[in-house]
Amino acid sequence: MDTLAPALAVEVSRTAERPRVARLCAHCSLPVTGGSDAAPDVELYCCGGCALARRITGGLAGDSAAAGMLMAVGLGAFFSMNVMMLSFVLYTGGHEADRLAGEAWVRWALLGLATPSVILLGAPFVSRGLRGGRRLLLDTDVLIVLGVGAAYLISAWSVFAGRGPLYLDTACGILLFMTIGRYLEAATRARTTDALGRLARSMPTEAWRIASFGEERVTIDRLEASDLVRVRPGERLPVDGVIREGEASVSEAEITGESTPVHRRPGDTVSAGTLNLDGALVVEVLRRGADTTLARIVRIVEEARLGRYPLAALVDRVSAKFVPMILLVAAATLAYWTLTLSPGAGVLNALCVLLIACPCAIGIATPLAAVAASGRAASSGILVRAGETFERLAKAERVCFDKTGTLTNGEPRVTAFILAAADDEDARVLSLAAALERSSEHPVARAIVRYAANRGVMPADVTGFRAVPGRGASAFAHGLELRLGTAAFAGVPPAAETPGATSVYVSLDGRLLGRFELQDTPRLSAAPAVRELGALGLPSEILSGDNPAAVSTVAAGLGGIRGSGGLTPEEKVARLAAGADRGDAVIMVGDGINDAPALSRAAVGVTLEGGTDLARELADVTILGGDLTRLPWLIRLSRATLRVARWNLFWAFFYNLAGVSLAVSGRLHPLFGALAMIVSSLVVVLNSQRLSRLPLAGNEARHD
């Protein structure tokens, strides 16, 4: 909570530039400033609270280290509570209290109780403060050490001198409240940002490798490509690979956010971290460890956290002036109260100004919102490359879609099968067609084979397969020549086609057996996505290179969407650029290859991925699993994120201004300053936690 975000660690130099952010906190996953020079295997923490929380809740240190830290904090708390209790009694005055306050032994007792407390609780602040001080970084730890140190030394002097003010309860109380407050904040914050950890934890560390003598349990790093591993029902896949034996329902929720399991057969690819629900599988290793899709997802989400955050420009602008201003105000407070009342009052009130104005809440206000949102998005199978993207998504006004492969499945599917002779059998013709197309890799062939398989038709026996590129394929069945392809190739007259569809003809010895109609069908999720976007106030448009007729067919099928066809990639970019010049913030949804220029020109580029192979360069947003309805969900999440970030920021500044005014006027005791500061940070954390409670995509209550 102190050196969290660049905005709050102030370099005491004239440049108000953000220090380079390069690492994430080992406990709460927020960025750590100035971590780039640390060794990669050293765990870094953004604040003392996270360091404490990590050690206590079993991070790297063993039980004894955690116990030692607990003892230190606990004993510190014990002494602090006694100091405060005794001081309360003295404050309320009355005969008894005044008599007690006059007694030397009471003062010595207070000092005796306070000293171990200050040492035990103050040590972590001193060590962190020294580190910050060396880098000339004026963070909260330095301020606390200075303020508490001054309060303690003035009191100690009073005890030795036998007269003068005592601020021992203040010194102990600030340390105790800050320690406990930071711990609480760190613990809560880690819950907000933990989605990533859940992803990483679903990765198994060991696998059953099939060897010549049987099976052996090996760690993942000992596996090599093309090794075979056995995955039993109920186990998570340890690697990315191809199924060689067995079938199973696989839950890919960790990767795609899709909770419905998918059926996987031999030849299908599967991803590490997904869950084998019910089948025994033998999987050939393609990638393991850090190369797997899941590891890449985790890395992308982590990298996103290092980038800029929503409202960053605003935060930068204000913080650049805010912190020097606060330092001036604190100095002025110190001078004023020292001159008019006493040095003690000066130190206390200046300390209170610094404690209240500590920009912790400002620093975490927007990163925390974005990190919570990115975790939530990742759990729904959406990768967002930078925190700032949420701001642009929330402010978007229009959505443009590519057609082929985005609004449509990108692969032809058999939409009709028409027999030539009414008395012929479906199954006989289908089995012949499937037999012929089985040997072909053409998309049309794949569509026909799948169509036959879905109807339970087994391919017939054919011989002498021959493919004629661009026209069709032929073979012999029972000595007769079987042809499948264009009407001319099949040697039959063309039939009247449905608009937008492609026909493929099957003939046996020149006699027409039947005809397939194939179409690139819209994704099931396309129509609801367009409808939901419209409800969110975002009109949709198709920008496609395909012919205008095909585009208007798709547009008519979806409804509520405008269509422009026949565009070259350059024209798509020009369209987006024209929109951008008018001040339109446009989201472009397309595939990462053909649409790359358009994606980069749009305010936000969105790509869809199959979900099992993250091969492509990523756009700003990648929706894994290809469900388009995730887009409106993401818009809603982004708008909520921006709302939370704005509210956090407003609260942080409002609280600071109010608190500083009270502190300057000497109306706020530093103890309450410390408490208020913790409360303000907790308010920001709890407010951001609302984002973690938003329903995941696909689990929302549907209105229709």
Binding site: S64, F88, Y91, T92, G94
Partner: protein, 245 residues
């Protein structure tokens, strides 16, 4: 010192309740057969718990003093007394068994946090660890502590508030000592009839206390409390607020 003994006596009367809530923990921390140092650990635990209680009591007293010192102190003192009486009565009703659920539900939701925080201490058992455990235990939700805090607020004095809660800590010691001495005791007494009976008697006693407290808030009622005549505490608080400036 009256506050201390009254609170101790009342808590002792109600301390069958402590067996259920804290008895198990006593056994975990302090009683490991006839282990040497078991007595020391038990006392450290009580010291830690007592410190937290007294600290909370001082805070409650400070709160009471602040309220009484405010401009409209007659009414605010009266409101404070009524609230405290209601709190006492509420705890009494809970002990009578007429109202249940809330307190134990709270304790249940704290359990995982407790385990996460103090697991390392209970495993490593460094010297003096029961003190820290006791300190944390003092913050456990407990109806007897709530009753004590209500009474402490009415004293309108941090010192008397601390003494009241120290009394609560003191009063619970015999029962807890019994629990840690006889490991099976707590488990057996859990269901025993006498435990219910004693707890209910304490509940009834608290309700009587509440009635007495309430009568003081009534117009014409007189504050026969020794601790904090409002006239004296008003300037006292003034002193505290400006101590540092």
């Amino acid at each position: 010192m009256t506050e201390l003994w009254v609170a101790a006596a009342l808590t002792f009367a109600a301390s069958a309740h402590c067996l259920g809530m804290c008895g198990g923990l006593m056994v975990t921390v302090a009683a490991r057969g006839k282990r040497p140092g078991a007595l020391r650990d038990f006392l450290l635990l009580q010291l830690g718990k007592g410190t937290t209680y007294a600290f909370l009591g001082a805070l409650a007293g400070l709160f009471g003093a602040t309220v009484t010192a405010s401009a409209t102190f007659v009414w605010s003192t009266r409101a404070l007394t009524v609230l405290a009486a209601l709190a006492l009565a509420g705890v009494g009703v809970t002990l009578l068994g007429l109202r249940s659920g809330t307190v134990s539900a709270w304790g249940g939701s704290l359990a995982p946090l407790w385990a996460r925080l103090f697991g390392p201490l209970l495993q490593a058992r460094p010297t003096g660890f029961p003190l820290v455990i006791g300190l944390a235990m003092g913050f456990f939700p407990c109806p007897l502590v709530y009753a004590g805090l209500a009474a402490a607020a009415v004293t309108s004095s941090p010192g008397l508030g601390a003494l009241t809660l120290a009394g609560v800590a003191l009063g619970s010691i015999p029962a807890l000592a019994l629990a840690s001495a006889a490991t099976n005791f707590a488990a057996r007494s859990e269901r025993s009839a006498w435990r219910n009976l004693v707890t209910r008697a304490a509940g009834a006693l608290l309700i009587v206390m509440a009635a007495v407290t309430l009568s003081r808030a009534m117009p014409g009622g007189h504050d026969h409390h020794a601790g904090a005549p409002p006239a004296a505490s008003a300037p006292a608080m003034d002193h505290s607020a400006h101590q540092h400036h």
